[in-house]
Amino acid sequence: MSTEVATAPATKAVKVNRIGLEITTYRGKKTTLCAGCGHNAITERIIDAFYEMGVDPYQVAKFSGIGCSSKSPAYFLESAHGFNAVHGRMPAVATGALMANRHLVGIGVSGDGDTASIGIGQFVHMMRRNVPLIYIIEDNGCYGLTKGQFSATADVGSKLKTGVVNDLPAIDTCVLAIELGATFVARSFSGDKKQLLAILKAAISHRGSAMIDVISPCVTFNDHDGSTKSYSYVKDHEEFLGDVSFVPFFEDITIEYEPGTTKEVTMHDGSRLLLSKLPEDYDPSNPIHALRLLTESKHRGELVTGIFYVNAESKDFIQLLNQVDEPLNTLPIERVRPGPQALEELMEELK
């Protein structure tokens, strides 16, 4: 990238993105979450990703359910419409809104309780439908707003601050999503700026459900010894499924990579996703590889992050519905009310 220093910095040039907007346009209200909460770091990456991709915020619709995670859409892209729905049922609301206006860029932020406990039904069906939505799970394995009870992503043997041990198996949302036919499945860590940003940018380029489970420690209720969702646990157990690099469609950059260990995926908008240093023979377009990796690594006690599976070819839900190109919400009356002869015809058949 060219890094020419301005020769006459009398007035400091304001940095803008490819559509001429400053990063402040992508920010939101001041966070009310705890200092050090993983969710705030994810918010920062979302701001960076939308800014760097040059998505105009007015085109974006933000969705969330209920919980700490679901507050965060207020903290990014203030210049986009947002919808804080009911607990566990954001997928339905997002699905409806995206059907009403297919030009919207949808991003949903959920939590582990909001997705894997109360919302598992809606999550399942949204993945199945391949609704075009970036779906982020801010995953800390517990309910923060109600003072730290376990959620369904808490690992067996994980301990609460009070000493209570979780004896139920965790639901792996990535495994589930792949089983359900999701078309973009990734896991990341709120503390990994570079990887998370690359995954988010790839998700913006994806047409279909882009599901990202982000381990995001709860500093107040689940960051102690015995927790498997703490900063230190993740740092000790994280394994990377290679490196994730993303080249947006509007940049012409050549990246050198060693043949055989890198897979290149062309995204819907023409951007390129480069997954390098993958295990030998790992094919991110093969769901069986992803499922095997996730299952085996879990048995080894590792937390693998990266993009596990991408299918950039599948039709998304809006395409399956065969909708007209224009958004349904603003179709004029002539296009949504059939003429009088249609009613006459129907009446004649009933006589």
Partner: protein, 627 residues
């Protein structure tokens, strides 16, 4: 055995005229093709210009359980359900004996000969028909016989009642559309029945049809199809649903109509989205998401679905999102009687959700109103930015009703207070929940509006006028008080009541929905047989307006007639009115799962009046909530 000689000229023993005034009760096994023969019978009589109404009394089952179809033929146009049958067609061996035992003396029974039903009683008129013997020669293919066999009673009835066989053939063509083979096969079976009756069943009763001119130009349709049609012409763009009896046929009909009329001719793409959701929670959630984004969005369900939708409907009320909900009411609570009818969700829907909530409800009584109110519901939902319920029921939704043809809606769509980018530019400011016009209705913007003032954050949590999160007491109170103002504005915008006042009437009736047809007939009987003129107010919507209060004031006593145990609409009226009105109100409640009958209304009113004028009788009047 009752014979002609025991009857008085052209009248039956109970004084009923026998021409174009009787009902036929067909008992069959479901899944046996009886729907076709019953519809053909209904249509044949209808085509002869005689008013009819067909009601299906069916089990929650796919095949093999008893089902009944009642056709009321009435020259005066009375189409409510009658308690008494004149003609029983007993095709179901499982229920035949009980069906026969239940009939009143003088009833005609057409039955399958081997069932030997004539052994059971000697005060009925029996016409035995050997169905199996007759079906064999007309239907060589053994596996089709079960389906064709029922057409034989159509033929036998045609002969006995004087139904024109040309009309039977025409009705068959309508039923099977272009399937000529099916028409021919079924018509042969009907002819076999007709011929058999002519040769073997000498007429022993007086019931018959005579051509009239009362159905010219009319249509026959079920309420769910009418609602689907109304929605399509109202410009519905998103319909999300989960199958549930008795609302499923609304969704199925909408799919059929939109496929025919809402596909762009150039691109072959849809100007709508219809999604069968994973449950009612998702169905309403999607509709709300779509309504928020500016689509004309709707769902259709029944009681159990309404229960599941409660939380989401509260969100739509509080966050002010338009959505239309068709509730095709069935018998509750719980699974209840899924295939029987009730006006049982009135109180629940009116205040659905936790917290203080109130929702407009439209109350269609006819298929025509199903069509019209679908459009009104969308206009109201978008004008008031709130969920609007259309409270149909199984009787209306799934049964067959005569109607004048529907009129093409000529009003433009009312899309409500939606601000475009240009509007925002002119205004220079925007606060989502501010009451600018004093009517309680705020302005909204749609996601995707390209203007820096447009975006706001929609939430079910506390919010101020600018849609910001707020737990401040004054913000909360300001907001919910404005919602009350908005609801009060709706009183004058929803369809007002239809009032028929009689000058000498001391008694008033208040009714709504499908109870209407039984009320009309009951009023005529009260006037003609008991010298009691009555006035009548038919509610068409909630919230109520001042006309309802005036009506109550003008009458000594007012009976609220409805199809539920707890007098739900009566309770809702009491929430709105003071002691002066409340003390005049009485209830007539019908709630056995079958459509209300005129006789039950007459009985309820008379027993109350006779018991002690001014006092509440115990028997006929249900307990009222909030009493």
């Amino acid at each position: 055995m009752s014979t002609l000689s025991s009857r008085n000229g052209g009248m039956t023993s109970n004084g009923q005229t026998a021409v174009n005034d009787f009902n036929i009760h067909v008992a069959t096994v479901n899944g046996s093709g009886s729907q076709t023969s019953n519809m053909v019978l209904l249509r044949s009589i209808f085509q002869m210009g005689i008013p009819v109404c067909g009601k299906n009394l069916f089990p929650s089952n796919i095949q093999g359980l008893p089902t009944w179809f009642t056709i009321r033929v009435n020259k005066n146009g009375y189409i409510a359900r009658r308690e008494k049958n004149d003609i029983l067609v007993a095709m179901n061996p499982e229920t035949a004996q009980e069906d026969v035992r239940k009939q009143e003396p003088g009833t005609i029974v057409i039955y399958d000969e081997p069932l030997n039903l004539n052994q059971l009683r000697d005060d009925l008129i029996f016409y035995p028909v050997p169905f199996d013997t007759l079906v064999k020669p007309v239907c060589p293919e053994a596996k089709l016989r079960k389906l064709v066999r029922n057409m034989i009673y159509d033929g036998a009835l045609a002969r006995l009642l004087g139904i024109d066989m040309a009309e039977v053939e025409k009705a068959l063509k309508q039923q099977f559309k272009k399937k000529a083979k099916a028409v021919q096969l079924n018509f042969e079976a009907a002819k076999a029945g007709y011929q058999f009756a002519g040769e073997n069943l000498p007429k022993q009763d007086l019931f018959r049809v005579e051509r009239m001119n009362e159905t010219q130009g009319k249509i026959i349709i079920d309420g769910n199809s009418a609602a689907a049609m109304g929605s399509m012409f109202a410009g519905v763009t998103v319909f999300t649903w989960y199958p549930i009896t008795p609302s499923s046929s609304l969704g199925e009909a909408l799919i059929e109509y939109t496929k025919r009329y809402r596909i762009d001719p150039q691109t072959k793409q849809a100007t709508f989205a219809i999604v069968q959701a994973e449950d009612e929670l998702a169905a309403i959630g999607m509709a709300i998401g779509a309504g928020w984004a500016g689509a004309r969005a709707m769902t259709a369900t029944s009681g159990p679905g309404i229960s599941l939708m409660a939380e989401f409907v509260g969100l739509a009320y509080y966050a002010e999102i338009p959505v239309v909900i068709f509730d095709i009411q069935r018998v509750g609570p719980s699974t209840g009687l899924p295939t029987r009818t009730m006006q049982g969700d009135i109180l629940f829907a009116a205040t659905l959700s936790h917290g203080d909530t109130k929702h407009p409800m439209l109350l269609p009584c006819s298929v025509e109103e199903c069509f019209i109110m679908a459009g009104e519901a969308f206009d109201l939902a978008e004008e008031f930015q709130t969920p609007v319920f259309v409270m149909s029921d199984l009787d209306l939704g799934m049964n067959y009703w005569m109607s004048d043809p529907f009129k093409y809606p000529d009003k433009p769509l009312n899309r409500g207070k939606v601000l475009s980018a240009a509007d925002l530019e002119r205004a220079g400011k925007f606060a989502r929940y501010k009451d600018i016009d004093g009517d309680g209705i705020p302005y909204r913007t749609l996601p995707g509006t390209k203007h820096s003032l447009a975006p706001y954050f929609t939430r079910g949590s506390g919010h101020n006028e600018r849609a910001g999160y707020s737990e401040r007491p004054e913000d909360y109170k300001n907001n919910v008080d404005r919602l009350t103002r908005k609801f009060d504005t709706a009183r004058q915008r929803v369809p007002g009541p239809v009032i028929d006042e009689k000058p000498q009437a001391e008694i008033g009736l208040i009714g709504y929905g499908t109870s209407h047809w039984a009320i009309e007939e009951a009023r005529d009987r009260l006037r003609d047989e008991h010298g009691m003129p009555t006035s009548y107010l038919r509610l068409r919507a909630y919230p109520f307006n001042g006309e309802v209060r005036d009506f109550i004031h003008k009458h000594r006593r007012v009976f609220v007639v409805e199809q539920n145990r707890d007098a739900q609409m009566h309770s809702l009226l009491k929430l709105d009115f003071g002691a002066a009105e409340i003390e005049k109100l009485r209830s007539v409640c019908y709630y056995d799962g079958l459509p209300i009958t005129p006789a039950s209304i007459v009985r309820g009113i008379l027993s109350d009046e006779k018991a002690a004028p001014g006092a509440r009788p115990v028997e006929a009047v249900a307990k009222v909530l909030f009493a």
